[in-house]
């Protein structure tokens, strides 16, 4: 399948700040891709370039076959800015209706659209009276107008409560199922790993990792932690068997490489008479993320 978004060797600097260096990526129809990275990694800059709001120093970008910012590209791409802002004197309904008119969409769906993001009741209230999360939802609603082929969402779940977050990802699933390509940035690792198809990690403006969580997990090859609880009085014997372990109040804490996991487990089970319990702790999402995000030294 041809990709909706293709970026190759994109570079952008602001004066002396290298915001993006040699970034390449693709997003195909129906794919949900999450863009991760520390503050200042270049996520928002990348998105603004995709939308044609900023022009890159070098590199090629194709958005639905067009150049970013072209009329054709703008017809097909929806954007949710990092801090969605609206005129406080307007009502939610007026604002959404305005955006629908700009996209030449039938206005009958306006109320429905606000209902979909949970703003049905607040539709005729002024945006100035909305809470942060409610404004964010107006931002989401406008990004859903007119079946966009590509959605570029900059921290779409920031400010949303847990239930709204879940609803939001359900909305995304629906859009992706209809063939929309989705690129979203986030700092919330857990929700992103559960609800997207692929992760991209930017660090200091460079793409440092790309793939599904399990790809990244094996690429990072982080050690597995094992927590062994000794039957009363056997702790010291266990310590002798595993000299590298650290003794804690409840038992032993040891780590081993992914490849040694089974061998280590076998050795532990040989001592089964002395072990009360065993817990295997795989590297956490944060561990994997930090591994990549720090690799280029921030």
């Amino acid at each position: 399948m041809t990709s909706t978004l293709t970026i190759s060797r994109l570079t952008k600097s602001f004066g002396g700040v290298h915001a993006l260096t040699d970034v390449s990526l693709t997003v195909t129809p129906g794919e949900r891709v999450a863009l991760l990275g520390h503050n200042g990694a270049g996520k928002s800059t990348l998105m603004k370039i995709i939308l044609g709001l900023i022009s890159p120093d070098s590199g090629e970008i194709s958005v639905c076959g067009a150049t970013p910012g072209d009329a054709e590209a703008r017809e097909r791409v929806a954007y949710l800015p990092e801090n969605a802002a609206f005129h406080s004197a307007l009502t939610g309904l007026e604002q959404i209706t305005f955006y629908m008119r700009l996209r030449g969409v039938d206005l009958k769906g306006a109320r429905d659209l606000l209902g979909r993001v949970g703003l049905g009741d607040a539709a005729t209230r002024r945006l100035g009276t909305y809470s942060k999360g409610m404004r964010q939802r107006v931002g989401l609603a406008q990004a859903l107008i007119g079946h966009p082929r590509l959605l570029v969402l900059d921290e779409p779940t920031s400010g949303l409560d847990p239930v709204s977050r879940r609803d939001f990802y359900e909305l995304l699933d629906g859009l992706a199922a209809e063939g929309a390509a989705i690129l979203l940035s986030s700092h919330a690792l857990t929700e992103v790993e559960a609800r997207t198809d692929r992760l991209l990690i930017l660090s200091g403006g460079r793409m440092v990792a790309e793939g599904s969580l399990s790809d990244l997990r094996s690429e990072a090859a982080l050690p597995v932690a094992l927590h062994v609880t000794a039957i009363n009085g056997y702790a010291s014997e266990l310590m002798e068997a595993f000299p590298n372990a650290i003794q804690t109040k409840e038992g032993l804490h040891l780590t081993c490489a992914q490849d040694d996991k089974l061998a280590t487990l076998a050795r532990i089970s040989e001592m089964r008479g002395k072990v009360a319990d065993l817990e295997v702790i795989p590297p956490s999402l944060e561990d994997i993320y930090s591994h990549f995000s720090r690799r280029d030294g921030q």
Binding site: K48, L51, G52, L53, I54, A71, R74, E75, V77, A78, Y79, P81, N83, A84, A85, F86, H87, A89, L90, E94, Q95, F98, Y99, R101, L102, R103, G104, G139, Q142
Partner: protein
């Protein structure tokens, strides 16, 4: 294209209504027009003109100051406000061209201006005609004043958008707009008059001064309306001094200026980064 311009105009009109700009513009025009027509009702007939023509002459002098002021007040926030609120980047990702955004805002602001002008001039005219049936003879002058006021307003709306795009902050734009108003409407004339007095009928007075009047949209507006109306001999020193300027020249300036100002606005808006 039309749909997008109309959508923008609609939303701008809503914003202007909520921000009380419509009310302020209408009140300003009505109050000042009524004050003027009350003050101008005394010397009626003295110049052999009907009552309405006299009112139109004083309304012209008023509008030279008031119409640019109202236009600048409505327009200074147009782009700087969007930049400051952070609403511009999202808007620019929509399939709408920058000139369409500008055209939509212009349409809304011109419509508000027309409402204010009709309310102000209309109430003054109504009083004049009620007091003196002969005053209907001045309707032609009133009509001329009305459409030239709309053009003058459009010129200063365009200048206001350019100022707004240049300063990118609402507070800076407000200051700059006041500066433009003072400069073009007040100080410009004072400077010219001072120069004419110092020059005492020399090259400046005969050659530069008429051109300088035509170059300023507010002066051209005044010239056109006063030279068109015979009842205006007493009206203004500047206009009196430039009685020799043919009417087609001032008309040209009045008509060309809105296009110049709006082109300037479009150019400066193009330079604004999202």
């Amino acid at each position: 294209m039309i749909a997008r311009i109309l959508a923008t105009a609609r939303i701008e009109a809503n914003i202007a209504r909520r921000n009380r700009w419509v009310l302020i513009a209408v009140l300003l025009m009505v109050v000042f027009s009524l004050v003027l027509s009350a003050a101008g009702s005394a010397p009626t007939g003295a110049l052999g003109a009907d009552r309405l023509s006299v009112v139109v002459a004083s309304l012209t002098s008023l509008s030279v100051y008031l119409v640019p002021l109202v236009a600048l007040l409505m327009s200074f926030d147009a782009i700087a406000g969007e930049v400051e609120r952070g609403t511009l980047p999202l808007l620019l990702t929509y399939p709408v061209a920058r000139w369409e955004v500008l055209a939509g805002k212009l349409l809304a602001h011109v419509a508000i201006l027309i409402v204010a002008l009709v309310a102000g001039y209309g109430s003054a005219a109504l009083i004049a005609i009620l007091n003196d049936a002969e005053a209907v003879a001045g309707l032609g002058a009133l009509w001329r004043l009305t459409w030239t006021s709309v053009l003058l307003g459009a010129t200063f709306l365009g200048i206001g958008y350019a100022v707004s795009a240049l300063s990118r902050r609402a507070s800076g734009a407000a200051g700059l707009a006041i500066g433009v108003w003072l400069g073009l409407v007040v100080l410009y004339d004072l400077g010219l008059l001072a120069a004419v007095v110092a020059d005492d009928g020399g090259f400046f007075t005969t050659q530069v001064f008429p051109a300088a009047l035509l170059a300023n949209p507010a002066d051209a507006f005044r010239l056109f309306n006063l030279s068109a109306a015979e009842a205006s001999a007493a009206a203004s020193g500047v206009a009196g001094a430039a009685g020799a300027i043919p009417q087609w020249q001032s008309l040209g300036s009045v008509v060309i200026w809105p296009f110049l100002a709006l082109a300037l606005a479009a150019l400066t808006f193009r330079k604004v980064d999202a």
